[in-house]
C-alpha cells in the first residue's frame, strides 16, 4: 500500500534550507510510491513551490498569511492542522531544526499521533517504515517504528541525501486559505548572531575551535583555514563561554548538531555534550596538544601538537594541494 506523505518545507531568508529537500527524499522512501505533497507556510511563499517539486514533491500546498511571516507555534499549528485535514496524509516529514523541533510535537499531540524525532535514516521493510535515531547523547542508536497512525518524523539535517534536482518535473502549486487567529506568542525582537555564509548544520566541511584557541583574535586563523577549504567555522561551548566567538557557532547537544563529511576539531577536548553534536561526521580530525584528550577516541586522524604551530602549516598545505586539484 502506498502512502501519501506531507513534507513541510522550511524557508529562511527567501530560500529553502537544504533539509527541506532531504525531507522530500525521506518522504519518498516512506511513501512507497505514493504522493508527496509539499507544504509551505509564510507570507508569500507559493512562488517557491516549483523548487520543491523539482526535488521530488508531486504538488505543493501553500498557506499564505501575514500571520505566518514569522514562526509561532500557534500560527504554524493552525495552518498545518488545516492542511492535514484537507489532505488526510498517511505520513508527515519535517526537518529537525529549531522550528521542526518546536512544532512537530505540538502537531503530533494535536492530531493524536506518534512522532519519531531526529531520525538520521529511514528504510522500509514491507509495510513497515523503520527509522534510525541517536539516543544517549549519540552514544547509542535505536530503530523505531510508528505502531499505528500517521508515520510522522523529524529528520536530522545532512543525513538523508536529497534527490537530484530535476527541473523538468512539474506539479500543481495551490494555496489553502486558513484563518489564522489568536496568536499567543508576541515576537518582540530577533537578534541575529549567525554570521553570514555557510549554514553550520548543512556544511560539508567544518573547522571548529575550542578553549585551546586561547583568544578571539586566534579564530582568524580558523577563518583562514576554513576559507581555503570552503568550510564553515564552528566552536565548542568552552570557546563560546570564554567569549572567543559567538554562541551561534556552538556545536553540541545545546548547540548545532552537525554531520559534515569532514570535521576538524582544534583545541577541543571532546566532552560528551560536544561529541553529541558531531559524532555522526564522516571523517573527524583532532588537533590537540594533549594525547589523552577524549577527542582522539572518536577521531579518524589525529595530530598531537600545538595548534598554533599546526594550523598555519595545515592551511599552507591545503592551499598547495587545493590549487593543484
Amino acid at each position: 500500500m502506498t502512502k501519501k506523505v506531507l513534507v513541510v518545507g522550511e524557508i529562511r531568508d527567501g530560500e529553502f534550507r537544504n533539509v527541506s529537500f532531504e525531507a522530500v527524499a525521506a518522504a519518498k522512501e516512506i511513501s512507497g510510491g505514493g504522493e508527496i505533497v509539499g507544504v509551505l507556510l509564510g507570507e508569500s511563499v507559493s512562488s517557491l513551490g516549483n523548487e520543491l517539486i523539482a526535488y521530488g514533491a508531486d504538488r505543493v500546498v501553500a498557506v499564505e498569511s501575514d500571520k505566518l511571516a514569522s514562526y509561532t507555534p500557534d500560527g504554524y499549528s493552525q495552518a498545518l492542522q488545516a492542511v492535514v485535514e484537507q489532505e488526510s496524509p498517511e505520513g508527515i516529514v519535517i526537518g529537525h531544526t529549531s522550528i521542526g523541533r518546536d512544532i512537530a510535537p505540538k502537531l503530533a499531540a494535536r492530531i493524536n499521533s506518534g512522532l519519531v524525532s531526529d531520525a538520521t535514516a529511514v528504510e522500509t521493510a514491507g509495510e513497515e517504515v523503520i527509522f534510525t535515531r541517536p539516543i544517549y547523547s549519540g552514544k547509542a542508536f535505536e530503530k523505531k517504528v510508528i505502531a499505528d497512525g500517521v508515520v510522522f518524523a523529524t529528520i536530522r539535517p545532512n543525513n538523508i541525501p536529497a534527490l537530484d534536482k530535476d527541473e523538468s518535473r512539474s506539479g500543481d502549486v495551490t494555496t489553502l486559505d486558513v484563518d489564522i487567529k489568536d496568536l499567543r506568542t508576541i515576537i518582540k525582537d530577533v537578534v541575529k548572531n549567525t554570521a553570514s555564509g555557510v549554514d553550520l548544520s548543512e556544511a560539508n566541511v567544518i573547522v571548529a575551535g575550542g578553549r585551546g584557541m586561547k583568544g578571539s583574535e586566534n579564530f582568524a586563523m580558523l577563518d583562514e583555514l576554513a576559507d581555503v577549504l570552503g568550510a564553515a567555522v564552528g566552536a565548542s561551548r568552552g570557546a563560546c563561554d570564554a567569549e572567543y566567538c559567538d554562541y551561534a557557532l556552538q556545536i553540541g547537544q545545546t548547540g548545532k548538531v552537525v554531520t559534515p563529511d569532514l570535521y576538524i576539531a582544534v583545541g577541543i577536548s571532546g566532552a560528551i555534550q560536544h561529541v553529541a553534536g558531531m559524532s555522526n561526521s564522516k571523517i573527524i580530525v583532532a588537533i590537540n596538544k594533549d594525547p589523552e584528550a577524549e577527542i582522539f577516541n572518536i577521531a579518524d586522524y589525529g595530530i598531537v601538537g600545538d595548534l598554533f604551530d599546526v594550523i598555519p602549516k595545515l592551511t599552507e598545505e591545503f592551499k598547495a594541494v587545493m590549487v593543484k586539484s
Binding site: 507555534p73 529549531s98 523541533r101 518546536d102 510535537p105 505540538k106 503530533a108 499531540a109 494535536r110 499521533s113 506518534g114 512522532l115 524525532s117 531526529d118 523503520i130 535515531r133 539516543i135 544517549y136 547523547s137 552514544k139 547509542a140 542508536f141 535505536e142 530503530k143 523505531k144 517504528v145 505502531a147 499567543r184 506568542t185 508576541i186 515576537i187 518582540k188 530577533v190 537578534v191 541575529k192 549567525t194 566541511v205 554562541y247 551561534a248 557557532l249 547537544q253 545545546t254 548545532k256 563529511d261 569532514l262 553529541a276 571523517i283 573527524i284 583532532a286 577521531a299 579518524d300 586522524y301 589525529g302 595530530i303 599546526v310 602549516k313 595545515l314 598545505e317 591545503f318 587545493m322
Partner: protein, 256 residues
C-alpha cells in the same frame, strides 16, 4: 505563583553505555536529574523567591526516581509527585504526555518548566506535547525569563540567534543551557528535603485506560554504533605530519 517543574531521571550519558539484547544495561549505572531539568528547577526556585508561591516537581518514572525528586527538594523545591509508570508498556513521549496531562487536568498553574531535551531519549517532545494537551502556549529553549503583570518576557535560543517573545501566563517553557547556574543542594537543604511531601500516584489514580497511555511508537532495536577503528595518530616531524594528514584526507578518506 503556582510553579511546576516536569523532570526526568536519566542515565548519566557521561558514563559508558552498554546494551544487552536490545536493552540498555542499567545495573550499576549512574542516574541523575536530566541536566536541562536542573536549569528548570533552579529557575523555578528563583521565580518563587521573587514572586512567592510554591514549586512542585513532577516526574513520570519508576520508584527509583524518588532519589532525583529528593535532590530537587533539597535544592529548594517545596513538594514532589512521582507518577509511577512501571506497568505501562511500550512507553514513548506520547505516554508521558498522556500521564502528565491527566495529572495537570485539575491543577492550577501559572508556569510549567521542563528541559529542552532529555539526554537519554533525546526527542524533546514531552514539553510541547503537554502544552498542546493543556491548551496553553509553550516556549522552547529559553535562556532568560522575566515575569511581571501576568506576562512572561522570554529570550529563547533559536540556533544561536536570540528571539525575544512575550506571552501571557499560564505558559510551559523548556530550559536551555545558559538559563542559570543550578545550585548544589546544601546540607540543611538535604535535611529539610527528607520532610517535604512526596506523593506517589499510580496510573489507576487517573481516569485513563491502558490504551490511553500505551506508546504510539515502538522501539524495535537498540544498538551501539560499530566500534570505530582506532584513529590514526600521526607521528614524526610536524611538517611531515601535516603533509601526511592532507594526503590522507585527499587520497584515503577522499573528503577534500
Amino acid at each position: 505563583m503556582n510553579i511546576y517543574v516536569i523532570l526526568k531521571r536519566t542515565f548519566d550519558t557521561e558514563e559508558k553505555i552498554q546494551i544487552s539484547n536490545g536493552q540498555i544495561v542499567e545495573d550499576g549505572a549512574e542516574f541523575i536529574i536530566n541536566p536541562y531539568d536542573e536549569y528548570a528547577i533552579e529557575e523555578a526556585i528563583q521565580l518563587r523567591d521573587e514572586h512567592g508561591g510554591e514549586v512542585t516537581l513532577v516526574t513520570v518514572g519508576e520508584e527509583e526516581a524518588e532519589k532525583q525528586l529528593r535532590t530537587g527538594l533539597a535544592m529548594g523545591a517545596d513538594k514532589a509527585v512521582l507518577i509511577d509508570n512501571e506497568d505501562v508498556e511500550d512507553q514513548d513521549p506520547y505516554s508521558t504526555q498522556a500521564l502528565l496531562a491527566a495529572y495537570f487536568e485539575d491543577k492550577e498553574y501559572d508556569i510549567i518548566l521542563g528541559g529542552n531535551i532529555a539526554v537519554d531519549g533525546g526527542s524533546g517532545q514531552v514539553g510541547p506535547r503537554l502544552a498542546e494537551k493543556l491548551d496553553i502556549v509553550h516556549v522552547t529553549s529559553i535562556v532568560k525569563i522575566d515575569i511581571a503583570d501576568g506576562k512572561a518576557t522570554i529570550e529563547r535560543d533559536v540556533e544561536g540567534d536570540q528571539e525575544i517573545v512575550e506571552v501571557a501566563l499560564p505558559v510551559l517553557v523548556t530550559a536551555q543551557q545558559g538559563l542559570n547556574e543550578p545550585r548544589y543542594p546544601s546540607l540543611p537543604g538535604i535535611m529539610k528535603a527528607k520532610k517535604k511531601p512526596l506523593e506517589t500516584l499510580e496510573v489507576d489514580d487517573f481516569d485513563l485506560d491502558e490504551d490511553d497511555v500505551a506508546g504510539k511508537t515502538k522501539t524495535v532495536d537498540r544498538y551501539l554504533p560499530p566500534e570505530k577503528q582506532a584513529g590514526k595518530v600521526l607521528e614524526g616531524e610536524m611538517d611531515d605530519q601535516v603533509k601526511e594528514l592532507v594526503s590522507l584526507l585527499k587520497n584515503e578518506a577522499k573528503v577534500i
